[in-house]
Amino acid sequence: MNMLTFYKRVGLFLMLILFMGWGCKEESYVYEVNDVDISPINSTKNKPKTEAQYISVLYTNLFQEAIGPNRMLEALAAIQSIGDKRVAYDILVSKYMADGQVVLPSEEDMRADPEAFVRDTYRRFLIRQPTEAELQWMLNYIESRPNLTPELVYFSFATSNEHFHY
């Protein structure tokens, strides 16, 4: 290779580099969408219900009718008379479950279409759909517990921490 050819090649190489540099200039795209933190589906429920609100919602969810004012005041007094509210609500829900008027799906319905039962239960008590993980856990639980009844599932949802918040 003579000198002229060498200089030609070097020149071409430098021009190529220069051209590629222009061509690789990074573009900045702005989509005008803010960054979002991913939070649990129930994370917006961070306000505790008052005792009256909780009893009212609980009664409606279990009996599918509104609680009367006198019954409401009585239930409120009963709850206030016991300091540990978890214990008090457990007793209250246990009492309601013994009432016979609680509107419950049948066990046959639960077993026939467990996914519909789980989705309905989440909607009734927690006002939302279950996540896929929650749905699978509940379906597995129902399937693996032949003695599980809708009443026990309702009890658990009714006395869960999420049900106490909005």
Partner: protein
């Protein structure tokens, strides 16, 4: 034992224990702990507003109705002969149509002031003479000077001190309320950010729990099988709650362990059965709410054998409108507390190792209001600023309290309404820890330090 001897021995005992840290039953070890003086404490807030004149001064009608009749109508607590005329504080004498004409027989053979130590002239030294103020002061050792009715005590309660510093369980600590009014359900723990619900006491207002509200909403509650049913509820609830883990966002419980929660539920169930069968351990005379509250308190004591129990009474407060009924309820409060003490001595595990403290939450006015009752006697309020409302007494009986000792008198007041908290702390060996938290009123001192 003479007072001087007692103080000498108590001082020696204190000196002997001061240098040796004591390992509390909870396992806590601190240089500030001392040996507990008792295993159980029952604190009766002899509440509703009691005038010194009809209580420790035993003046009956003499200082209130311009009637020359004196006498002691609290003869289970105090030594002294009852009035000899114008008897209106007892049971109704239907045969002779005399309201309150038959005094209730004494429950105790020996009055409690002979069995324990009496501070006859104590001061409710700050703030207004309101019931909630008084109750909150008694259990927190601090005056609720800037506190609304519907808020928890600003300073830690004795329950919180004991749960946090002496390692008491939740069911070791009970507040038995005369009802759910006057913010009583808020008295089982404070708003103090370093204490609070984590260290709260169990609360029970038995006349509500086992009265009409509880009968309609609790009684005959379903009993789930612990292994085949309740365990599944627990598992599902654990799953649901673990998916909802925001700090503090939970049903406001009192950190009762699962076995404690079960015990409370079984207590409620068993007590309903007793109510139905008329087997609640009520005092011989039980014709007012206070006497029923004391009966249910005995049920709590028998079931849980708590280390600290506070019970408050309220019926004395009818004095706003009827002096005669005030006398009757004061007489009944004495009857009920005498019965409580007698029955505690029959509870296995609490007999002979329980200390009881009795203190009104505040006094009542010196002068009457214009309301007259069936005997034409004038009623009394408890007004802010009236010095007579600041006059109360404190009685302590049981382990730690010297028998027959009286500290102070009308001309030499000794003690403060805030003293009970450091006194209970000393009874359980954590006085120095409690005092070092800086939450007690400046006047508060252990009664042992005032002897």
């Amino acid at each position: 034992m003479k007072r001087r001897d007692f103080i000498k021995k108590a001082g020696l005992a204190t000196a002997a224990t001061a240098g040796f840290p004591y390992i509390l039953p909870s396992g806590l070890l601190s240089a500030q702990t001392t040996a507990p003086l008792t295993d159980h404490v029952v604190f009766v807030l002899f509440a509703g507003g009691v005038r010194q004149q009809e209580a420790v001064l035993k003046r009956y009608l003499a200082d209130s109705q311009e009637e020359d009749v004196e006498g002691n109508i609290m003869y289970n607590l105090l030594t002294g002969a009852p009035p000899e005329s114008k008897i209106a504080y007892g049971l109704d004498d239907a045969a002779n149509n005399i309201v309150g004409g038959i005094p209730i027989d004494p429950v105790l053979q020996t009055p409690l002031d002979q069995l324990g130590t009496l501070f006859p002239e104590v001061r409710f030294s700050k703030g207004g003479a309101g019931h909630y103020n008084g109750l909150a002061t008694g259990i927190s050792g601090n005056y609720a000077l800037a506190q609304g009715l519907r808020s928890r005590p600003a300073s830690p309660t004795i329950f919180e001190y004991l749960r946090r510093h002496a390692g008491f369980d939740a069911t070791d600590c009970w507040y038995v309320g005369a009802g759910i009014g006057m913010s009583r359900p808020l008295l089982n723990y404070s708003n103090d950010p370093e204490y609070g619900r984590r260290y709260g006491a169990n609360f029970l207002a038995p006349q509500t729990t086992f009265g009409t509200p509880g009968m309609n909403h609790f009684m005959d509650f379903k009993n789930y099988h612990p292994e085949t049913e309740w365990s599944m509820i627990q598992e599902m609830r654990h799953f649901l709650n673990s998916n909802y883990v925001e700090e503090g966002l939970e049903i406001p419980h009192l950190y009762n362990r699962p076995d404690e929660q079960d015990s409370i539920k079984e207590f409620v169930r068993a007590t309903f059965e007793k109510v139905e069968q008329g087997q609640v351990a009520l005092p011989p005379v039980n014709d007012n709410g206070d006497l029923k509250t004391l009966g249910f308190t005995l049920e709590v004591l028998s079931w849980f054998k708590p280390k600290i129990t506070v019970v408050d009474l309220t019926n004395i407060d009818v004095c706003h409108g009827s002096y005669t009924n005030y006398l009757k309820n004061l007489h009944r409060a004495d009857h009920g507390v005498g019965f409580l003490w007698r029955e505690i001595q029959r509870i296995p595990g609490m007999a002979n190792n329980t200390t009881m403290i009795v203190m009104p939450e505040h006094g009542r006015d010196q002068d009457p209001n214009p309301i007259q009752d069936i005997n034409d006697w004038y009623a009394y309020d408890h007004s802010t600023g009236n010095e007579n409302t600041r006059r109360i007494f404190t009685l302590m009986v049981g382990p730690g309290a010297e028998a027959g000792l009286t500290v102070g008198d009308q001309d030499n007041p000794v003690g403060d309404a805030t003293d009970v908290v450091p006194t209970i702390a000393e009874l359980f060996g954590i006085k120095q820890i409690v005092e070092s938290q800086g939450r007690l009123d400046g006047n508060a001192r252990s009664m042992f330090d005032r002897m």
